[in-house]
Amino acid sequence: MSKRAGTDGSLLASLPWTLAALAFSVLPHVQYLPFWATFVFLTCSAWRWQVERKRWRLPPAWLRIALSLTCFIGVLASYESVSGVGPGSALLTVMAALKLLETKQRRDQFVLLFISIFLIMSSLLREQFLWSLPYLVAGVLFTMTAWLRMSTSSQVSIVDSFKTGARLIAYAAPLTVAMWIFFPRISTPFWAVPIDTSSASSGLSDQMSPGDISSLSMSNAVAFRVKFEGTVPPPHQRYWRGLVLYRFNGRTWSGNEPSLGSGARSEVDYLGDPLRYQVTMEPTQQHWVIALDIPYEWDLDHTFMGPQHQLASVQPIDQRVAYTVVSHTGFRLNSKLPEFARSWYTRLPENGNRRTLALSRQMRDDAPDEEAFITDVLQKFNNEEFFYTLEPPALGRDPVDSFLFDTRRGFCEHYASAFAVMMRAVGIPSRVVLGYQGGEMNPMGDYMIVRQADAHAWTEVWLAGRGWYRIDPTAAVAPERIESGRSAAMFDGIAASWGFTAPSEFLYQLTLTWDVLNAKWNDLILGYGPENQGKFMEWLGMEEPDWRQMMLTLVAIVTILIVIISVLLMLRYRPPPKDAAAILYQKFTKKAGVPPSRGETPQAYAVRLAREQAGMAGAAASITAQYLDARYGPPDLVAIERLQVSVYDFKPRRS
């Protein structure tokens, strides 16, 4: 039986670069891909490379089909779907791996490079960081260089291929910028496909169980950035409301799914001066829309005010959104609370946290009225041995009891929960608000950064005549947390008592600068939508252009650029300029009046000239000798000068 021939090794020159380009495109996906998909890709790449090097045979069709089916089922099992960026990029990765195993010819590699481009695209859909732009350019350079390698002869070095790729990208860059600026942007998507279902949400959690998870996120990731028009509220007024929790089962606080609070805004009496500001919120995959205290107006589409006066969007926030809000920090909420609502906000399991209930009722009996009772409770937190810490001990079966009487260590959630329970114990309606408190001004960009580590929990109690009234029990324990904000605390030495160390001042400045760059990037590049484009067009002098005008401008600019590129290429391939000696010699033949014929050497020409025009014989011989010396002799300026003098002095004497 004759052995089937293996590969012929014809891809040895181009395959490594195709593999490198693919690997570069897979790289940003690795952290999201299921482990096995990366493994399959790496294995198949190494396998295919060995096949080419050792002239092995490619795997048989049945094996490839079996692998394809397995991988497809694997993707389905990992994601339970095949649409969206997550499963899409996993599919592309395994497709690339399996296509490698059947890549026989040069041309099969085109498919691989198309996959490489789609992988780059899907990584851009998933995340758009500052470095995504250089990554994009590098990815295209890699892919297109691998593309060049497929059709280049082996004499061309890889450096030259990279240079060619870079040169072509440099030509294409102005075209890209022009198209990017002028291509009309539309605001509404054609169809909704989930961007990514695999990435974890980084926003606020939907419920709160103090004592379960005994440490708080210290993530420095930006939650949102705020630009105030006018005055910036002082730190103790920076309460960014997120969601409201009002159901308590003895351990866990929870709230409603986002729902429309019909007439919620009419339950608010707005007091004081409005604050106008623009929020740029990072995606959370959640519905909550952050605003300062109680919003009065907001311009985000499909966003409504819920029954607890918090904002929520119909769609989960899966992309960065920017919106303008008008808020009031002075307000009166629900000056009248219906009886059924009152019963929601005072409901408390009677069989848990008994010591807390007993203590509260005891304290209420000692206080003359509700407000005095509240003050007493806060006083208790302040005066007794309660500590603010980010890493409190875990709590037992009755978490509020064990917190108040045993551990006495906790962060905002513990205090908010304990306080709200104590209020409910004596029939005061109370609820817990999750959101963010504080935010640091970035002096370099004149905007405020609020980070995930600024997440906070506080309470609202309802008092007759005052409505819902914010009380932050954490402030009683660690007033500096509220007064100065977390970031300022880092430099006041308070941080150590909270359980984190302050970075160096220099690093801190660096972080702020980096954040300015990111904010500008988000604003100018990622946020270049219909609105910004309209503004830019206006700045260019186009009054409210419609898409037709913009397309015409686009076509005009692109045409001009292409003409420029064409001229550059023409110059690139022009013959080198003649050297000085050749130009002088040409002048001489012109003066002599006898054109040299094609392929005639200077000597032959001199002989012919002497024959045809005897009067020039002497000059012809000497100029020819000088020319040959200047042109082909060692580089010598004197020789050229001599030739120049002779040619200028040459007087054709016709015989």
Binding site: F114, L148, S187, P189, Y573
Partner: protein, 339 residues
């Protein structure tokens, strides 16, 4: 059912017709080219390849995706690829413009062999011209790069069937550089032709007997018997006649000359062959000439109205075989006989 004229729906038919039309148009537009021609940009044509069309489709899909997600970075990627498409179109066309093509000859062949047309391409520019190829019909040359200033010969192997001329009315030069998204090409009409000798007969019919020509020939003819002196060695001289002793003495290669001697020669006569078919006779004559040439014997050729006295050597062989190639059965015109 059969009323549908399916045969007219075959795209190949139309393709051939369109190609013929385009060829005629190009020829009319460009005229006949000189044997040395520099490509002007006006005569370099360009069209996308299949891969180019897929690339365009991909860019369009990516554009839709970018619009749907309103993702400015994927817009940037899409436009960068679109820009690369435009750039590669111009780069592809420029890769041919101002190349100099010249005809570098074709050697005579026997019918049935391939005639190898040599086309020299010169890159006068300061930059490399990658991925060039010459083609004519289905025949393609090797693909090669031209370094700055380099001149390289490309070979087109055109199959031949009949004696006479093998014509290369048109050939093309094409390139796929840089990304194979576009194919740029130019047609050249240099009206090249090469000589095709008749197909040599396979079987060796015995050649006519050798005539020994005593005294028929002048002493300038090379004999084998009487030593007449030494002369400088010339390519083609038999090693047996080299004066090796003289070589050992002086280091000069000299050949011994003989004269007045027994010069053997053959006459190949068209009329003398016992065969009806003209082509067959020509084939037999061709075979005889080849055999005689290989053994360095003198031979003469007699055709109706044409006669080549016995001689040998490359020029004689070419004259004899050429006359067979263009043999028409009629006496050749006087001037051609003189030549």
């Amino acid at each position: 059912m059969s009323s549908i004229p399916w045969q007219y729906l075959k795209p190949r038919l139309y393709r051939r017709a369109v190609e013929a039309k385009v060829e005629r148009w190009a020829r009319k537009r460009q005229g006949t080219d000189r044997p040395v021609t520099e490509l002007h940009s006006r005569r370099v044509y360009i069209l996308p390849t299949a891969i180019g069309l897929v690339f365009a489709l991909m860019a369009f899909t990516m554009l839709l995706g970018s619009m749907n997600y309103n993702n400015n970075l994927s817009f940037a990627l899409t436009f960068l690829l679109t820009g690369l498409g435009f750039v590669s179109m111009h780069q592809c066309q420029r890769n041919l413009v101002r190349l100099e093509l010249s005809f570098a000859g074709v050697d005579p062949v026997f019918a049935g062999q391939v005639a190898e047309f040599r086309i020299a391409i010169t890159n006068h520019s300061k930059n490399r011209r990658p991925h060039l190829q010459i083609y004519a019909g289905g025949v393609t040359s090797n693909i090669a790069d031209l370094a700055p200033g380099e001149s390289r010969i490309f070979h087109l192997e055109i199959p031949t069937q009949q004696r006479g001329y093998v014509r290369l009315d048109r050939f093309g030069i094409r390139t796929l550089f840089p990304f194979e998204l576009f194919r740029a090409w130019a047609w050249l009409h240099m009206d090249l032709q090469g000589i095709v000798y008749p197909r040599p007969a396979d079987y060796a019919l015995a050649p006519p007997p050798t005539q020994t020509a005593h005294g028929h020939r002048q002493h300038d003819a090379r004999g084998e018997e009487d030593f007449a002196g030494l002369r400088k060695f010339q390519v083609g001289d038999s090693p047996r006649h080299v004066a090796w002793k003289a070589y050992a003495r002086s280091g000069d290669l000299l050949s011994k000359q003989f004269s007045g001697a027994d010069t053997s020669s053959q006459w190949f006569d068209f009329e003398g062959i016992d065969e009806d078919d003209v082509e067959q006779r020509l084939s037999i004559l061709t075979r005889w000439i080849i055999d005689a040439d290989q053994t360095q014997r003198d031979y003469g050729l007699r055709l109706p109205g044409q006669e080549f006295p016995p001689a040998h050597g490359e020029a004689h062989r070419h004259k004899a075989l050429g006359s067979l190639a263009f043999f028409s059965g009629l006496p050749a015109p006087a001037e051609e006989r003189a030549a």
